[in-house]
Structures are given as structure tokens and as C-alpha cells.
């Protein structure tokens, strides 16, 4: 019954739990330090492919675009570890604090 006492005391202190709203979906704020989806600042990338070499889950493929080589991230394999950000010599990769939102189709995750 000591649990009851605990509940009453906490309720008396008007402790409230902040939950995110279910209806305004997608509007979830993460802590700014959160390691969310990876992103590339295209203009900084020099195409050295170090990120691809160090990525632990082979989520990066180097492709050729009009400006030369660049990485493409497969978000269905990426595990948001941030190693590519650490490895990049020009700091072209950043981790946004965006929460990756669920998708219905795996293909939607494959390029970016």
C-alpha cells in the first residue's frame, strides 16, 4: 500500500506528464543534441569517400552526379551512429535533429 501513498503524494503535488499530441502528428521536437537523420552539405563534399569506408552498416554509396562524386545514404540501413560525420574531413555531413518519420514503403528510405 506504500504505492498508494506515493501516488497520492505525487498527485497532490500536481505532477503532470508531458506527452506529445497524437493528433498533430509529425510535430515531435527532439532535443537539439539528438542524432537524427544524416544530411549532406553538397557544396562542402569533395568526394573522398572516407565516409563510405567507415560506415559500419554500408549505408553509404558513392555515386557520380553533375558536380562529381558524392555519397548517397540509404536510410533503411543507416543506424544514425554519426561515424560518417566524424570521418568526413570537410565536415560536409551533419546529423539533423529531425526524427525520422515512419514510412510505408522501404523504397522511400533508400536514397537521399
Amino acid at each position: 500500500m506504500s504505492v498508494l501513498r506515493d501516488i497520492i503524494e505525487r498527485k497532490a503535488k500536481r505532477e503532470r506528464v508531458r506527452r506529445h499530441s497524437l493528433t498533430g502528428e509529425g510535430k515531435v521536437e527532439a532535443d537539439p543534441s539528438f542524432r537524427g537523420r544524416v544530411g549532406l552539405k553538397r557544396e562542402l563534399c569533395i568526394g573522398c569517400s572516407l565516409c563510405e569506408k567507415d560506415c559500419p552498416s554500408a549505408a553509404i554509396q558513392i555515386v557520380q552526379d553533375e558536380k562529381g562524386k558524392r555519397p548517397v545514404f540509404s536510410l533503411d540501413r543507416c543506424m544514425f551512429c554519426g561515424q560518417c560525420k566524424e570521418s568526413c574531413p570537410t565536415k560536409a555531413i551533419y546529423m539533423s535533429s529531425e526524427l525520422q518519420l515512419p514510412v510505408f514503403d522501404r523504397k522511400a528510405l533508400e536514397v537521399r
Binding site: 554500408a58 549505408a59 553509404i60 554509396q61 540509404s74 533503411d76 540501413r77 533508400e110
Partner: protein, 156 residues
């Protein structure tokens, strides 16, 4: 139990079958011994208070399979034995150190080391359909010889 490295080395030098004793660092000691002396050395260590089994490691060194038994309190002693790679076989120490039983089983499944006198002789495999005689931690087991499975290569 609170032996320091020097005392432990002194206590072990001259034991039968011990080939080499060296201190790797302040609290790590490596004892190499022959296969036949292994049991005796472990027994002696257990008598000295090293009766906590930290882990047992098997390493396929190509020229032989190294079996490492890590015993420890605040000081950790590693007993190293080299086994014949074609038919690795050694006597079990799970009667001296009951904590070693599952460790031996792990090494047996992954490296195919045979432990003589082990209380549960049944073999345990990766999954029920794991092929017999394939030991994943042997160096001969490579990605190419990995279990047959549908596999997508590369990202995507």
C-alpha cells in the same frame, strides 16, 4: 586473493609444464603451458584463489588453436594452451571450476575444440539446422562459406 602480479608470478614459476610467464600490464598475467600440464596449472591457480572464471577464448591462430582461460580476481591470469588444429582436444576443467562449463561449451560449438570429460557431451549448434562440422570462428569459415541464405548484396 589480493596477490599482486609479482607474487603471482613467483607462485607460478617452476610449476610443471609452464612454458612462459609474463606480465602484460599491472594486473594482467599471461601463463603459457602445454596441453598436458593445463589441468594441473588450472588446479594450482584455483588453489591460489583464482577460481573466478572470467571467460574462455578460443583463437584460430592458423598454426594451431589457442585456448585462453581467463581467471581472475583483482588480478587476471590468462592460461594459454596451443592445440593441434586438425583435432583440437583438451581435458575439461569444469569439475575444478564449475563456472567453466558453459564457457567450454561455447568454445566447443564455435571452434570445435573437444573437451574430454565434459559433463554434457551433447553438441549445441547455431540453430537447429546448422551443418555439422562447421565452426564459425575458425578462420577457414569465411563470408564465402557462410550459411546458405537469401542475401542481398550491397546497400538496398
Amino acid at each position: 586473493m589480493q596477490m599482486n602480479a609479482e607474487e603471482a608470478i613467483r607462485a607460478l614459476t617452476g610449476a610443471e609444464g609452464v612454458q612462459e610467464i609474463k606480465a602484460l600490464s599491472e594486473r594482467r598475467i599471461l601463463v603459457a603451458c602445454s596441453r598436458d600440464a593445463y589441468r594441473g596449472v588450472v588446479g594450482r591457480l584455483a588453489g591460489l584463489g583464482f577460481n573466478h572464471v572470467v571467460a574462455m577464448t578460443g583463437v584460430d591462430m592458423k598454426e594451431g588453436i589457442d585456448l585462453l582461460l581467463h581467471l581472475g580476481s583483482s588480478l587476471m591470469v590468462t592460461v594459454r594452451v596451443r592445440l593441434d588444429p586438425s583435432r583440437p582436444k583438451i581435458s575439461s576443467v569444469s569439475d575444478i571450476l564449475p563456472g567453466a562449463e558453459m564457457r567450454e561449451r561455447e568454445v566447443r560449438d564455435l571452434l570445435g575444440v573437444e573437451f574430454e570429460g565434459h559433463p554434457s557431451p551433447s553438441r549445441f549448434m547455431v540453430s537447429e539446422d546448422w551443418p555439422a562440422g562447421v565452426y564459425p570462428l575458425r578462420k577457414a569459415f569465411t563470408p564465402a562459406t557462410a550459411a546458405p541464405e537469401t542475401r542481398r548484396s550491397g546497400p538496398g
